[in-house]
């Protein structure tokens, strides 16, 4: 390809209101970001424990995942952690996904309506020596059942119930302000059309209206108020006042046709609802609070109390998509005070062209001679492009080329992204102590906007970007920039923010498993995002293949509990081993866990909180709190990381907040807890202290648990 070089017109640059930065910035990215640690020792890449799992099935001690129950001829299996929550007492609640798939003989579509089983729950805890043990909550399946299905033909009897009608699978979970865990939604499996009592028909997955609460104090599940809409794959987030906001989900996954409400057909539930935590009831939020969003929409509570939709989620309904899915490309913000959504931006734009962007665009636009293009594009680094059109027009002028829009949008990673995580990076106070900026890291997943098909591209992207929300003058200003790319494209990777502010990604696959289950290869290579260099680096290899329904959560000591894996059966038939073809064995769910120890775990110079407690210390917003440590003089960060509750890559409450150090002496630092409940919603957090070592590495302590108290409310007062 011959490149026709054109001079950049000054007007082009001025049009974007900024001047290009020096080319030196471009060269900086080529060095990589290794910060001097390039070997494969645990000190550099961390290490995984051996996998471990519950030792029994019923009363039978076994190392197998499943055993055959002679009386029924069915497989009984250990649950996998398709959903995983970090409880206020340091234990972990988890529950299964797709329970019963082991008993599918021929085809999951035909049989799972009757073979499905309500998912089991477990509580995992570790002794002081690290030995795991398990407890079965009561009731073990959380005790819900769908009162009635939503038949395609109202009044028809052509529905075959017989499988699970109150499964936790596909519920979202949230930690309430008092530490209880609420599971919202879930699945009623049945066959439609089908025949009652017979294993024949076509699977339907109907979202439940149920919400149920797990109380860690007595390991029991109870029902709370039900939603007004059945939701499968909804998302819930705590609001600043500790109420819980729910969006999206679909009522019927396979056949979302509702004769009673045609406008609702063919799309996800657009109505949002709010759970009044004081009353235990749900209420609809009205017309302005309606919004079409993807399933398991990636939402976050912003530090101004609004809820951000970050243009990511899951998208495979109905028949692969919603007719209105074009709207999912728009970043939006919901104001609970006015109960109204507003559009913020087309995801990815305004686009800040940095050196990573210039590098990646140059490779995409001309892989045979990217250096030449990179030199040209380096002159644009520092500019912000408000839309794809402005970026494409400028690239065309600079390069003298007809620039392919799809190539540009693919590089930017613009629009809605599926099967990825959206990680809120630590909130930091500005010079005035205000929290006015939030940043979100998104890496991997499926770029769906550029192909107009869904679930999107079959091959996952390696693109990684940071979206920034600036809250200035009452505005919600959005911008996006690229970081270094993942070392490989990854579908369904679980992200975990570590207390050194880096982000790890675990598990996932190299193909979209939902498109063609069993044809993906699991990714056991973990990666770490360095917030200083903004690059991804390969870390330790995990032991187990974990693709769909994998999970990972931060532990109190700074290690990471990695679990889950409940794949769809091979080709939606039965579990078939295609490993001989180089593909995944697709051998069913994996009930095991493994623990990842990041490099800082192997350091001998981690700071220590000497007044750490085993039970949470209650803290009120605005108060000061003293942390004892012998390394007080070196402590330069105190970070509160909210206990994680994750499923399907979603934890809308995921949050890390730097709290300001207001005083220190030789053996303690004192911090002030932020005043704003939108910055620090009530709930349970891990408090880490850290210092910056040579080379700029952040070395965190083990944490001590704290509980941010909710403002007192009564049901009548709301």
């Amino acid at each position: 390809m011959t490149i026709k070089m054109k001079p950049i017109h000054a007007a082009v640059l001025l049009a974007f209101g900024a001047l290009p930065v020096a080319n030196a910035q471009l060269g900086g990215l080529l060095g990589g970001g290794t910060t001097g640690c390039s070997d494969t020792t645990p000190q550099c890449i961390g290490a995984f424990s051996a996998p471990f799992a519950e030792p029994k099935i019923g009363d039978v001690a076994t190392s197998e995942k499943c055993i055959l129950e002679p009386a029924t001829g069915k497989q009984l299996c250990k649950p996998a952690a398709g959903t995983l929550t970090h409880l206020d007492d340091g234990r972990f609640l988890y529950f299964n996904a797709l329970e019963g798939t082991e008993n599918v003989e021929f085809n999951i579509v035909a049989e799972f309506g009757s073979q499905s089983v309500n998912d089991q729950t477990r509580v995992l805890s570790f002794s002081s020596s690290g030995a795991p043990s398990w407890v079965k909550p009561s009731p073990v399946d959380a005790g819900a059942s769908n009162a009635e299905v939503t038949p395609l033909i109202p009044g028809g009897l052509l529905v075959g119930q017989g499988g699970a009608n109150g499964a936790l699978f596909c519920a979202d979970v949230a930690q309430l302000a008092d530490g209880r865990i609420m599971a919202v939604g879930g699945t009623d499996f049945y066959s439609e059309p089908g025949i009652e009592g017979l294993p024949i028909g076509v699977l339907e997955l109907e979202g439940l209206k149920n919400a149920r609460i797990f109380n860690p104090k007595n390991n029991t599940w109870t029902q709370t108020g039900s939603m007004n809409f059945g939701r499968w794959y909804p998302t819930v987030v705590n609001l600043a006042n500790s109420d819980v906001f729910v969006v999206s989900g679909v009522t019927k996954l396979i056949k979302p046709v509702y004769p009673q409400s045609p406008a609702q057909s063919g799309r996800n539930v657009v109505q949002s609802e709010t759970y009044n935590a004081a009353c235990g009831t749900w209420s609809e939020n009205g017309a302005l609070a309606q919004r079409s969003l993807p399933l398991f929409a990636r939402i976050h509570l912003l530090p101004n109390g609004h809820v951000l939709y970050n243009a990511a989620g899951q998208s495979f309904n109905p028949a692969g998509q919603g007719y209105d899915q074009a709207l999912w490309n728009i970043v939006g913000a919901y104001d609970p005070a006015t109960r109204a959504w507003r559009d913020v931006a087309y995801a990815g734009f305004p686009f800040q062209l940095n050196s990573f962007g210039a590098d990646q665009l140059s490779h995409a636009l001309n892989p045979t001679n990217p250096n030449l293009i990179r030199i040209l594009l380096s002159t644009l680094v520092g500019l912000t492009f408000t839309s794809p059109d402005t970026l494409i027009a400028t690239l065309g002028q600079v390069l003298g080329l007809a620039v392919d829009r799809q190539v540009v949008e693919k590089v930017v990673g613009s629009g809605m992204r599926g099967s990825t995580f959206s990680m809120m990076l630590p909130l930091k106070p500005d010079a005035y102590g205000n929290y006015t900026k939030a940043q979100f890291l998104t890496a991997g997943g499926i770029i769906s906007a550029v192909v107009a098909a869904s679930p999107g591209t079959y091959i996952p992207t390696d693109s990684s970007r940071i979206d920034t929300i600036d809250l200035v003058g009452g505005e919600t200003n959005y911008s996006s920039r690229l970081t270094g790319k993942l070392n490989q494209g990854r579908w369904y990777g679980s992200g975990v923010l570590l207390p050194d502010t880096s982000v790890m990604v675990f598990s996932g696959a190299n193909r979209d498993e939902v498109v063609a289950p069993g044809l993906e290869a699991a990714i056991v290579q973990t990666e770490r995002f360095d917030p200083v260099t903004q690059t991804w680096k390969k870390m330790a290899l995990q032991n187990q293949r974990r693709t769909y329904h994998n999970t990972a959560v931060l532990m109190a000591d700074g290690r990471v509990l990695v679990g889950g894996h409940a794949p769809i059966t091979t080709g939606y038939t039965a579990h078939i081993d295609l490993s001989a073809l180089g593909l995944g064995p697709n051998d069913g769910r994996d009930p095991s866990f493994e623990i990842y120890s990041p490099p800082y775990v192997f350091r001998s110079d981690r700071p220590v909180i000497s007044n750490a407690t085993s039970t949470p210390v209650n803290l009120n917003r605005g108060q000061t709190h003293k942390i004892n440590t012998s390394s007080a003089a070196a402590i330069d960060g105190v970070l509160l990381i909210r206990n994680t509750d994750t499923t399907h890559l979603v934890d809308a409450d995921q949050r890390a907040v730097y709290v300001p150090i207001v005083s220190r002496n030789s053996n303690s630092v004192t911090v002030r807890i932020p005043d704003s409940a939108a910055v620090l919603p009530a709930g349970h957090y891990m408090l880490f202290i850290s210092r910056t070592a040579s080379g700029g590495k952040i070395v965190p302590s083990k944490s001590t648990p704290v509980h941010i108290e909710a403002d007192a409310r009564s049901c009548n007062a709301t």
């Binding site: 028949a319 074009a326 109204a340 559009d343």
Partner: protein
């Protein structure tokens, strides 16, 4: 309402799990997927069995035909009369109603139709003229089965139809039944409904910066959308398909004309059990939709109205512009317009 019809259509063709299963099968089997009808024994996913209107004698019986794993008939007979389903030799193999379902366990058809692929047939059931052996198989008068007469494997699609990729009836099917002892039949046709040969993509032709402070972006999707930002001091009015006011975007936020038919199909209209009656000629009824000067909606004007582009375009097999469109707007006293085109992109490109 057109979208609802489309949805029902897609339901009949199976949901995502079913489609994905078919995709998987295609990967493994790598056969001649479509075009001229599959050879013997091959599924032809482009041919769908469709149920005719029921004969008068069967009006009291509920009959559904679904394309799931294969074409599946589902019948509910809540009358006090017996419905017998006859096999290819004219012998009954299913009795549905009055209060249960009985199967003739001596009939091979019972085993062949129980699941999509059938189940093993006992030797005794393979014998012709075997004595019926009726056994209750359901306590309710409803049954679903995968009748082999609904299979499309041997249906031939005329070359002219396949080459034109047009929807057409390519065969008929008939399942004789006895209702209350009287002969009648379930009948239907096989419709050739070729899968899309490509996809459509909308683009702006006049650029997205249409006036200072006003920008427009295309949102890709099955029905494309627009994202409009107006940071100027004057309100921008966007007009709908009948040139009726659609939305106003400006410093005071976004107001929608809820009487606009275009608004009702925008993906942003309030979902209500008492939907607003749209009327393009009615006086606008403005309702606040957003406090910000940005708004997105889906707009069928940017979508191609047919499933396939003209045959000549498909035949060329290259990306082609198939439609031009305009979205009229008014900014203060200035008339503006957004112009664009919709391209067809073949599957393989």
């Amino acid at each position: 309402m057109q979208r609802d019809i489309n949805m029902l259509s897609s339901v009949r063709k199976g949901g995502p799990l079913v489609r994905s299963a078919c995709f998987f099968s295609a990967l493994l089997l790598v056969g001649p997927a479509f075009g001229h009808g599959g050879g013997h024994g091959e599924k032809n996913e482009d041919i769908v069995a469709v149920l005719d209107k029921l004969p008068a004698a069967l009006q009291s019986v509920k009959v559904e035909l679904h394309k799931t794993l294969a074409s599946q008939l589902v019948i509910e007979n809540k009358t006090d009369k017996l419905l017998e389903i006859l096999d290819a030799d004219g012998a009954p193999f299913l009795r549905i109603g009055p209060d249960k379902v009985q199967a003739n366990l001596a009939a091979a058809a019972w085993y062949r139709t129980y699941t999509e692929t059938g189940i093993p047939i006992p030797a005794a059931a393979k014998e012709k003229n075997a004595a019926p052996k009726w056994s209750a198989v359901s306590k309710t008068p409803a049954w679903g089965w995968f009748d082999l007469r609904l299979r499309s494997e041997d249906i031939r699609v005329p070359h002219g139809v396949a080459d034109a990729r047009r929807t057409a009836t390519v065969g008929q099917w008939k399942i004789p039944v006895h209702f209350d002892g009287k002969p009648t039949a379930l009948t239907g046709v096989f419709r050739y409904m070729p899968r899309p040969s490509g996809r459509f993509e909308a683009r702006l032709t006049g650029g997205g910066e249409i006036s200072p402070g006003i920008s427009v972006q295309i949102l890709p999707g099955p029905v494309p959308g627009f994202f409009v930002t107006n940071t100027s001091r004057e309100t921008l009015t966007v007009f709908g398909r009948a040139n009726e006011p659609l939305v106003r975007i400006g410093p005071e936020g976004v107001y929608a004309n809820v009487k606009s038919p275009t608004w009702q199909q925008s993906g942003q209209a309030e979902v209500s059990y008492e939907p607003m009656l749209a009327d393009a000629k009615a006086a606008p009824q403005w309702v606040l939709r957003s406090p910000s000067p940005r708004f997105s909606w889906i707009d069928v004007r940017a979508a191609y109205p047919q499933r396939e582009p003209p045959a000549a375009v498909v035949k060329r097999g290259a990306r082609a512009e198939v439609q031009r469109w305009t979205i009229p707007m008014q900014h203060g006293q200035t008339e503006l317009k957004v112009t664009g085109a919709t391209d067809w992109i073949p599957v393989s490109k």
